[in-house]
Amino acid sequence: MARVELTNHLYQFFPDLEGREIEVEGDTVARILEGMERIAPGFGFYVRDERGRLRQHVNVFVGSEPVADRHGLSDAVPDDARVLILQALSGG
């Protein structure tokens, strides 16, 4: 099980997730996001577009590493990994 941590921004749209310990089954980032969709319907379209690509200004880290495959999100997620879903800093 991976531990998923979210930027505070996403609690604005998914208030039920705030303060929760989120644990999701999945061996790739794509599977983790599918798990998030089950926990919070609609979540996936906030972080990915309809082609499945990570949105331009969204970052996902596995541990401290940013995902390398922003299209297929095939990056491996080890058991007990920490997965962070953040907004990319775009300046300003």
Binding site: H9, F13, G42, Y46, V47, D49, E50, R51, V58
Partner: protein
Amino acid sequence: MSDRILVGTRKGTFLVTKSGAGLWKPKLAGHQGVGVNYVARDPHSGTLWAALGHGHWGAKLSRSTDDGATWEDASQIAYPEGARHYLPPPPTETGPGEGAPTLKPATLLKLWCIAFGGPGEIWVGTIPGGLFKSDDGGESFALNRGLWNHESRGGDLFAGEGNGTTKWFGTPAAEGEFSPGIHSIVIDPTDDAHVLVAVSTAGVFETRDGGRSWRTRNEGLVMDYSPDPTDEWAGHDPHQIVMCPGQTEHLWQQNHCGVFYSDDGAETWRKVSAPKRGVHFGFPVAVDEKDGCQAWLVPGKSDMQRTTVDGSLFVARTEDGGATWTELREGLPQENAFDVVYRHSLDKRGDLLAFGSTTGNLYLSENRGDSWIAVANNLPPIYSVRMG
């Protein structure tokens, strides 16, 4: 709901209500901090719909079934698997041999306008140029394939490579990728299957069979910036079109290249600009509900400047199909005003008119534009003003 105005802004949705004679007050009603491109009320269900642009998190539809007290994410609009489009390269980034359009998968960039047909029918115009429709009151939306697959756009790209090109070009409103956008959806109140849309930049399209087939409606439009100014297909830039509900053969168009009027159901357009009066460039247009010869504009100074004309703000009104124009200035700032009014930010119902500007000013008239009051001066940049 004639005494309420829905306002979409760069930082949230506002409801403006009347509390007494001449007293109007805006109140933040939701989406604080979020860009709201368009807010409108479904006249059949009473549901309020908002087209949001979250930036980081994409474009989202939001709705309220309790008159704006609370909002929830609606069914989301997404381009279906296999939806592709020919995309011209940005004009400033082309070198020799780089000007050909490229075939790209389509993803939703912006929800730009919402329109309501018969009960349960909701149309949404988007960037990159997809028209979506719901037949179940907004529970689900489907891409209109007839327009998406139109010959002017390369043909059926679900089935193959089409004709290899597109006559649709981009709009800066795409805020990134130089893609076309549908900003106007006009539904004939006497026939829900009769719909016109306007695209920046491609022009006006019409269906009479509920969206199965579409034809261009650009005859009479003139593109000052084109080597072929009257080309039926290519590059027309309507900024907004509206239809008179009581005289549906009367349509108005504020175009990049002037003001156009049609009294034959958009079969032909006639340029009715009056440049010497400052009536030529702008974005929004409103038409009277009963008399198709009466229209209102908020003119701007040329496509190069996009400011008020000489720093003074006015509304232009015609009552004779554009033959003459009256400048309506009472109550509006006449110096040091640089208000730009976007295409969805002027609306009319009965004697009431309202418009909002990118400098956060909201103006209102209760006498058909003869005089105006400022309802607010410090709102976020205003994207949309709709009666509702």
